[in-house]
Amino acid sequence: MKKALSVIMVVVVMFLASFTVVRSASAEEVKITGVITKIEMAADKKSAIAVLKDNKSGESVTITITDDLTLDKFKDHRIVDGDEIRTKFEKEGDKNISKMFKKTAGC
């Protein structure tokens, strides 16, 4: 009886754990397209925030950017206010951490 109870407990725990993992992996990744209304570099230049006006909802979304490639584009103004951006980010605490941040325009 004790052994059977242990097995049931393990199964229940594993089920709940897998549910939690799947939920966090799939629910937290967000993709939006929108126009930049503000870019603000951190004082140490190792991160920046960009505020995008989501094309679909019209709401302002603040994204935190930490990858060097995008930060460099902010520094030399290849990406500026008014550019339309396609971005993918993950919610980590109260921050939206960018996983992809690309201009939609091309030639």
Partner: protein, 455 residues
């Protein structure tokens, strides 16, 4: 990896760091006198501006003797080509202000936005005025301020591309960095990493992760840039590059059995196992974007998200209205198997002669009316007798970047298995040969030994 290759890579990395960190010898003079465009550069580099006007970066075209069905006496390239990744070109889709959209908004658009001139002195122009309009700093400065490169109308109504000619940008020059190249090469074909889908980052390319930059391989001589042999990249400066040279020998592997493959298998086939970017576009139906303008409908994949196709390639190109791709065969004695990014695009063809029609993007960008774009392009080109009908074109792009780390290159079983990546039957092998080429007998002992070493 052999000690020689490691030494060369470390050397390249060190050289890159040194070159990038080294100040331009003329910096003090530029800071003192300021920058007046190419004539400032020419004080120490006489003749370089005129030299640059003869390159593909300026002309967007060259002779393309290796491509079928072209007039080989004329030059071909982005200036005048028509194909379905870019249904326009510098002529029909010249940089201009597009008509207002439904919301009354307009914008500037055109294929030649990447041209390193000022647009009033345009693609392929020559003479002293053209020489002085070159934007040297966009390729050579690490401090270029892109707010200063913008499209405006001058007081005569001409569309002008402005440049950053500041002293600060000019004082910080050197060999072009990856960034300098990717300013234009990243956004070709309608957006970031769309056309060829390669990203020059250390995460995506093993060469970059070793500190190698674009111009370490594409070593320019007198502003002429060597390129690979992409069947869809027609214009070139007439100099070509291969993997074999300073960094890699003709027998680059320790294993003689693998080295035997290099006679018939291109390096890229095993070492560039993935591709990415757009794999299909429809120029007959444009999507309305959230900003109120229209763009060609495009199906895209991320970098390294797509499997390439493989074909024999003898470095000459089949060019028909519905196919642009490699020519070659198992038996011609010249071909090797290469990987390609497969792309299929839909656009309008002229029912009367079967040729692909071009499109001026200005009308469809404003209203979505693609036939108006065809009509405008036909007018520009003087084509009167045409009847547009939709059709598809297949294009094979060369897959020459995104070199994978050694551990992620294709191994024996990736090709020599029944469900391997190579379609051996389509590559010209008989059923009996396919059976012989896909037995584990070929690789079993070797892979077992490797497996035991790694356990």
């Amino acid at each position: 990896m052999s000690g020689k290759i490691i030494t060369i890579m470390l050397g390249c990395a060190l050289l890159t760091t040194t070159v990038q960190a080294k100040e331009h010898p003329g910096k003090e003079q530029i800071l003192k006198d300021g920058y007046q465009g190419p004539k400032t550069c020419e004080v120490c580099h006489p003749g370089k501006a005129k030299e640059f006007l003869g390159t593909v970066h300026w002309k967007h075209a060259s002779k393309a003797d290796h491509v079928d069905n072209l007039n080989h006496k004329e030059e071909h390239g982005m200036k005048n080509r028509i194909y379905t990744m870019c249904n326009g070109n510098d002529i029909v889709n010249n940089l201009k202000e597009i008509p207002p959209n439904a919301a009354g908004k307009t914008k500037f658009s055109g294929c030649n936005t990447c041209h390193p001139g000022d647009h009033t002195i345009d693609v392929g122009s020559t003479g002293p005025e053209a020489e002085q309009s070159i934007d040297c700093l966009i390729c050579h400065s690490t401090k270029y301020d892109f707010r200063k490169r913008k499209i405006v109308k001058d007081d005569k109504g001409n569309v002008v591309m402005t440049q950053d000619r500041s002293t600060e940008a000019a004082a910080n020059i050197g060999r072009p960095s990856i960034k300098n190249c990717m300013v234009c090469h990243e956004a070709a074909g309608g957006g970031a990493l769309v056309k060829r889908g390669f990203s020059m980052t250390k995460e995506a390319d093993v060469h970059v992760s070793k500190g190698i930059i674009c111009v370490d391989c594409h070593q320019a001589k007198n502003h002429k840039i060597p390129t690979g042999r992409d069947p869809n990249n027609w214009a070139s400066d007439g100099i070509y590059m291969t993997c074999v040279g300073e960094c890699h020998s003709e027998k680059p592997h320790k294993d003689a059995g693998i080295n035997k493959h290099t006679a018939k298998i291109a390096c890229q086939t095993c070492h560039i196992p993935r591709t990415g970017g757009a794999f299909s576009k429809d120029f007959t139906k444009w999507e309305k974007m959230s900003n109120g303008f229209y763009e060609p409908s495009t199906l895209k994949r991320e970098v390294n998200e797509t499997a390439p196709v493989y074909a024999w390639y003898n470095l000459t190109v089949s060019n028909t209205p519905h196919f642009i791709g490699p020519k070659g065969s198992r038996t011609d004695g010249k071909s090797k198997i290469y990987p390609f990014k497969l792309f299929q695009g839909k656009a309008y063809y002229n029912k009367k002669d079967g040729q692909l029609l071009s499109m001026d993007f200005a009308p469809p960008m404003a209203t979505g009316d693609t036939l108006a774009g065809v009509a405008s392009a036909a007018k520009i080109l003087g084509i009167k007798d045409y009847e547009p009908v939709p059709g598809w074109q297949t294009i094979y792009f060369g897959s020459n970047h995104q070199v994978a780390p050694k551990g992620k290159a294709l191994g024996c079983a990736n090709c020599h298995s029944v469900n391997g990546v190579l379609n051996l039957k389509e590559l010209g092998y008989s059923a009996k040969e396919v059976e012989k080429l896909t037995t584990p007998e070929i690789y079993f002992e070797k892979l077992l030994k490797l497996q035991q070493e790694n356990e």
